[in-house]
């Protein structure tokens, strides 16, 4: 590969040598230097004037416009952001307030209910107590009555039994006394 490359370079060098005599470096030929300088200056001046007078100001204003627009948009966005943040704060405040109110209402109504329940309970308890007292009174009355009626019944039974057994009629006061004596002894077992 290397020998091939060097061969080709040598070949090309020989080839170019055949022609190189006619030109050398055209850049160093002063024939057209004045012409090149003249046209360069002319073209460059025209280019410079048109660029500096027309195109650069246009492009600059274009770029400035865009920058301003972006700045404006960013400012607007920031403003809206601040506004929305304010709104969020307001909303949170309202929310907190309502929460407090709700809690208060809940607390109040609970208290009221408790009181009501307590009152009603007391009333009912009083009534129950009254009923119980009444019932106890009735019971004790019934007991007293029952003792005297039991005595009467037992006096009657006793007099009947004595009549039937002996045929005699004992006086009532002695029977009463005897029954009373026995019932005093035995009734305490049942009452």
């Amino acid at each position: 590969m290397k020998s091939f490359l060097s061969l080709s370079i040598a070949f090309a060098a020989i080839n170019t040598n055949l022609y190189s005599a006619e030109a050398g470096m055209p850049q160093l030929d002063p024939k057209y230097w004045a012409s090149q300088a003249f046209w360069l200056v002319l073209v460059f001046i025209i280019l410079y004037i048109s660029i500096s007078k027309f195109y650069l100001p246009k492009i600059k204003s274009n770029l400035d416009n865009r920058e301003n627009k972006i700045k404006e948009d960013l400012e607007n966005a920031n403003k809206f952001k601040e506004q929305s943040e304010l709104k969020i704060k307001e909303y949170k405040l309202i929310l907190d307030k309502t929460k407090k109110e709700v809690n208060k209402i809940l607390f109040d109504s609970k208290n009221a209910l408790d009181k009501d329940i307590q009152n009603k309970k007391e009333v009912i308890e009083k009534e129950i107590e009254k009923e119980i007292l009444k019932a106890q009174k009735e019971i004790s009355e019934l007991k007293k009555n029952s003792v005297s009626s039991i005595q009467n019944i037992s006096e009657n039974i006793t007099s009947n039994i004595i009549e039937n057994v002996s045929g005699d009629k004992l006086n009532e006061s002695s029977i009463k006394a005897a029954v009373e004596e026995i019932s005093k002894k035995n009734l305490s077992k049942y009452l």
């Binding site: 091939f4 490359l5 080709s8 370079i9 070949f11 090309a12 080839n15 170019t16 055949l18 022609y19 190189s20 006619e22 030109a23 050398g24 470096m25 055209p26 850049q27 160093l28 030929d29 024939k31 057209y32 230097w33 004045a34 012409s35 090149q36 300088a37 003249f38 046209w39 360069l40 200056v41 073209v43 460059f44 025209i46 280019l47 410079y48 048109s50 660029i51 500096s52 027309f54 195109y55 650069l56 246009k58 492009i59 600059k60 204003s61 274009n62 770029l63 416009n65 865009r66 627009k69």
Partner: protein, 244 residues
């Protein structure tokens, strides 16, 4: 097309001879390609600035990219004082870039491959920068040749070196561009000649070289325009802001 790789650089007259005061100012192929490059720039900028869209069209985007590219280059290297010279440096950059790029087209002529063209531009820049320096700073501008913080023993030597480097600016600026363009185009031509002389069997290797070199040359065309413009900015910076 002859096999001589230098033949692409010959200047020849187009149309009638124009002779003013004994000087031959005829319109040549070099002049033609200067006009073509300038026209292309103007076309690009015309269509690039025609519509004022917030969201740019493609050509508007290209024009604005060039604008911001050059504007950034100037503000980075020469600061805000160089703003009045922005149109000149923009024109210079665009002209050199388009001449280089148009020169990359086959059968075209590369305006910037001629030392006279680059030398005139470089000399103009050199003289303009020197004049600006003296206008802005008066004789204090000469302090550019005397760097601060140099030992007194070395000062004469350093000053001489600084003067030589300052005076060689137009030469280096012009030769850099001219030599780069000429060398690149000559090399492309030589490899093109290899392709022809080696024929269908051996021509593939130089052809692939040619393709790669074309890519390289397009890079060089852009790079040299950039270097030319940025060196102008740096020289302008020296004249506007005396840092030494």
């Amino acid at each position: 097309m002859a096999n001589n790789p230098m033949q692409q650089f010959t200047v020849h007259k187009i149309g009638p001879e124009i002779n003013i005061a004994g000087v031959d100012l005829s319109f040549t192929n070099a002049s033609l390609f200067m006009v073509i490059s300038a026209s292309l720039i103007i076309l690009l900028l015309f269509f690039g600035s025609k519509e004022k869209k917030i969201i740019p069209s493609k050509i508007q985007l290209i024009a604005e990219l060039f604008y911001t590219f050059v504007a950034k280059m100037i503000s980075d290297t020469a600061g805000s004082k160089a703003k009045p010279y922005f149109p000149f440096i923009f024109s210079l950059f665009m002209f050199v870039l388009f001449c280089n790029m148009v020169g990359m087209l086959p059968y075209s002529f590369t305006v910037t491959s001629h030392i006279i063209v680059t030398l005139i531009m470089a000399l103009f820049i050199f003289i303009a920068v020197t004049v600006i320096g003296f206008i802005k700073h008066g004789f204090k501008y000469l302090s550019i040749f005397v760097p601060s913080g140099v030992p007194a023993v070395l000062l004469p030597l350093i000053t001489i070196i600084e003067i030589i480097s300052y005076l060689s600016r137009p030469v280096s600026l012009s030769v850099r561009l001219f030599a780069n363009m000429m060398a690149g185009h000559t090399m492309l031509k030589v490899f093109g000649g290899f392709v022809v002389s080696l024929g269908i069997l051996g021509g593939w290797l130089p052809l692939s070289f040619s393709v790669a070199l074309t890519g390289l040359e397009i890079l060089v065309a852009f790079l040299q325009a950039y270097v030319f413009a940025i060196l102008t900015c740096i020289y302008l910076n020296d004249a506007l802001n005396l840092h030494h």
